[in-house]
């Protein structure tokens, strides 16, 4: 669908697909990314069509390398797109600032996907601030169609200004679908040779050029078709929206029957703000409601514009009548509009929320997140907890971002003490571990996944080595970037376009910097628990790689062994194990047969890893062909 050469034809597209199509219509030569939800699918899709469409698509080891690769392509007048999530944009911060100072040649667009309400993130950081800090133009689409249209526009603008352009999208765009009318697919443009005296350098004497480019962007934005006005002309009650705000506002105004009483200015060009356009609308208004995702970004800059042009006006938004945290939705927007317009609530909502008659019915169970059936992380955290308990000291476990972050919950025996950004565990553990030389008396363990290892852990490990850290670092190597959908990384041996590439060995890399390395299988419960116990007792920096592929990946290639409970051996609640398999181990495949009062296996869910058989005190769980 994204590659169809059918200009004018409308397809239902996901926002992430619209980014792909936009990149094609913009004639990209190069695309790169490190996966992060909600935009993790974009580069995978680009990788699949890159060969056919004649461009290069790459998964990068981290977001910084991804952006720098794009800058390289841009130097030869190639067009490039870099796709990241909000955290990835922050990882790129230095590169964006230095890159913006130096400027670019071929169009370069960074698409940053924010996750308001943190559906699949640890935070809801707002990418828009980066544009101000780095002095680069910022766009945000209000619909899936605009997402597609904005990418080629941003590439053109970027090239015209010789500056990178940031496009901010949010989860409701990336994971939303809407009609997209296809545009033309352009012919690929040839590259321009780089002359002996051509330069792309980020240095302070270019500071004034940086600001001039921004002013030229402002002029273009004053007349941009991505800013629209709907509703009453010269409205006294003005609503200004950014991104997804527009559709929620239009829907709510219609529901409230007041679409003719207010004006709606939807902005798609968010930095630098089109001051003339905004002041023209502010001049007619008495009060303004700003509806945007996450921070009061537009709200505060519109207030600054009003102040600068001496426009006396009331401005509302995220600082008052819209909650300061969480994503926009029809309920939040409708409530804010009522307050803004002074509309009284006539009756309790028909359904949902407090006062709804249906809400007082049956108690229904929540669906909490857990590791998948057969997940190696469940075994790793079970073992780690056992080993630390043996020491009579629960130790300190420090980690970062991946599926294993769920270890902070029941799924992983509440096995985490510390978690911050990607790669945070190793260096935080290094610092804490140094205190053992000064009287701190707890074992310190740090953790990372295999993709994270390559992303940001390597410099931390080198730092730990150089400083003679006293820690055990565990790499939970499941041979996958599992959380975001199994994208290739340097250890998997393939690239985004499906080519083979030499696998980089985590073990060899650690050994090359002089770290002693052990490898073990988390499914060998007893042996690995003993190994961890031994390693915790050893002084210095130790690396343990726990190898076992992600269960979801393994299920595709490995024959499933049948696992069952021998009802004669299971002593049920009389065992005294307190249902160790289903309650403590907690795999979705381990269930309880309430009629027979004994353990059972859910055959649909079980993947046949057989680890529960090893921990059952009554040896009641049987595995086809015996254990191992």
């Amino acid at each position: 669908m994204t590659t169809k050469n059918e200009p004018g034809k409308t397809y239902l597209m996901q926002g992430n697909e619209a980014i792909v199509r936009g990149a094609l219509e913009g004639g990209v030569h190069f695309a790169s990314s490190y996966p992060g939800s909600p935009s993790s699918q974009v580069l995978g899709m680009l990788g699949h069509i890159a060969e056919q469409m004649g461009f290069r698509a790459e998964w990068s080891t981290n977001e910084t390398t991804a952006l720098q690769s794009c800058m390289g392509a841009s130097f030869a007048n190639g067009r490039s797109i870099c796709i990241v999530k909000q955290n990835g944009l922050l990882v790129q911060s230095d590169t964006i600032h230095c890159g913006a100072l130096g400027g670019i040649k071929g169009g370069l667009v960074i698409v940053s996907s924010d996750d308001p309400d943190s559906h699949s993130s640890t935070n809801e950081f707002d990418s828009r601030h980066m544009a101000i800090s780095a002095n680069i133009p910022l766009l945000e689409p209000a619909s899936v169609q605009e997402t597609k249209d904005m990418i080629p526009y941003a590439l053109d603008l970027s090239e015209e200004l010789e500056q990178m352009v940031l496009v901010r999208v949010t989860t409701r765009i990336c994971h939303g679908r809407g009609g997209v009318e296809l545009g033309e697919l352009p012919e690929k443009r040839p590259f321009t040779p780089i002359g002996e005296w051509d330069r792309m350098v980020g240095i302070n004497w270019l500071h004034s050029f940086l600001l001039e480019k921004l002013e030229r962007a402002r002029e273009a934005f004053e007349v941009s078709e991505f800013n629209h006005y709907n509703g009453k002309p010269k409205a006294k009650n003005l609503i200004i929206t950014g991104g997804t705000g527009m559709k929620y506002v239009l829907d709510s105004l219609e529901d409230l029957g007041i679409e003719d009483e207010v004006g709606v200015l939807s902005l798609g060009t968010l930095w630098p703000l089109p001051e003339k356009l905004i002041t023209e609308h502010l001049a007619d208004a008495e009060k303004v409601l700003v509806v945007e995702e996450v921070d009061p970004f537009l709200e505060e800059h519109i207030a600054a514009i009003a102040g600068k042009y001496k426009i006396n006006i009331e401005i509302y938004g995220r600082n008052d009548i819209i909650p300061q945290i969480g994503e926009l939705n029809p309920e939040v927007v409708t409530k804010a509009l009522k307050e803004f317009m002074g509309i009284e609530d006539e009756k309790a909502p028909a359904c949902g929320g407090e006062g709804c008659p249906a809400a007082e019915g049956l108690a229904i169970p929540e669906r909490e997140l857990t590791f998948c059936a057969g997940c190696p992380h469940r075994a790793s955290f079970f073992i780690l907890k056992q080993a630390l308990r043996r020491e009579g000291n629960h130790g300190v476990v420090m980690g970062d971002i991946g599926c294993y972050t769920m270890a902070g919950q029941r799924a992983g025996q509440y096995g985490y003490h510390f978690m911050s950004c990607m790669g945070s565990g190793i260096s935080a553990a290094e610092g804490l571990g140094q205190l053992t030389n000064y009287g701190f008396d707890q074992p310190v363990v740090s953790l990372c996944g295999d993709s994270t290892f390559f992303h940001t852990v390597v410099p931390g490990l080198i730092n730990a080595k150089m400083n003679n850290a006293n820690i055990l670092h565990i790499v939970l190597d499941n041979s996958a970037t599992a959380m975001t959908g199994f994208q290739p990384h340097p250890g998997t041996g393939e690239t985004a376009m499906g080519y083979e590439t030499e696998k980089i060995s985590i073990k060899a890399l650690c050994e090359s910097i002089g770290c002693p390395v052990w490898e073990a299988d988390p499914f060998d419960v007893e042996e690995t628990t003993q190994l961890i116990t031994d390693l915790i007792r050893k002084d210095g920096l130790k690396v343990l790689i726990l190898l076992q592929p992600c269960a979801t990946l393994a299920a595709k290639t490995r024959a499933k062994k049948k696992v069952w409970v021998d009802a004669d051996k299971c002593r049920g609640d009389n065992c005294g194990c307190d249902r160790y398999c289903s309650r403590v181990w907690g795999c979705p495949g381990n269930i309880w047969d309430f009629e027979k009062d004994c353990a059972a296996i859910d055959e649909v869910v079980c993947v046949g890893c057989g680890v529960c058989a090893k921990i059952c005190p009554a040896k009641a769980i049987q595995v086809e062909g015996g254990e191992e």
Partner: protein
């Protein structure tokens, strides 16, 4: 014309594929369609829902306001109830698969899963029409438990509020599947479609 449909279930049941197919078929017919998907980090085992909004006027926001679902399609009984409470109103119609999927808290023994007849009673008391359809069983009979989502789309297409004919849905299927798989999907779609037309499970 505006129709709001919530399609809900558990990660892995094919909810998102189903709503995408239905949405694509409606766009092909010229309708303005928006779909919002809520799954976040809950691909595996968590609650998943799609909001499908069909209009002949304009493309709406991707989220249906509370209390404004015309139809709730649930791939699991407790999920039907969970969604109906928030998005339903007395005129809402409900189609739900009767096979429960137990959450972790229930498996561990900390939470209780309500009795199916109690769930049915509460659904019936809070909507205008309900269809309890054993879609997973029907899918297993047809040879593949995974096609329950397509059976449910057949059931949805049979509702008067949905401006779509089976042949039009088949065109969207043909964009995604070929050969035997396509034929099977068409067949099971019709079993869901006919079940509703015959008033099964009503």
């Amino acid at each position: 014309m505006n129709t709001n449909v919530v399609i809900c279930g558990i990660g892995g049941q094919g909810n998102i594929l189903a709503s995408g197919l239905m949405g694509s078929a409606l766009v092909e017919k010229g309708y303005k369609v928006s779909v919002g998907e809520t799954y976040g980090a809950s691909q595996r085992g968590g609650s998943v829902m799609s909001h499908l909004r069909v209009s002949d006027e304009r493309e709406r926001g991707v989220l249906i306001p509370h209390g404004q679902a015309d139809i709730v399609v649930a791939f699991e009984p407790v999920e039907a109830l969970r969604i109906l409470r928030v998005y339903g109103n007395p005129d809402t119609k409900v189609i739900y698969d009767t096979r429960p999927a137990y959450p972790l808290g229930v498996l561990i023994g900390e939470d209780e899963y309500p009795a199916l007849e109690d769930i049915a009673a509460e659904i019936d008391a809070n909507c205008s029409e309900s269809y309890a359809l054993p879609a997973t069983e029907m899918a297993v009979e047809a040879g593949n438990a995974k096609v329950a989502n397509i059976i449910m789309m057949g059931a949805l297409a049979a509702m008067d509020e949905m401006p779509i004919e089976p042949e039009e849905f088949f065109m969207a299927l043909a964009q995604n599947f070929k050969g035997k798989v396509l034929e099977m999907n068409k067949e099971v779609f019709m079993t869901g479609y006919n079940a509703i037309k015959e008033g099964r499970g009503k």
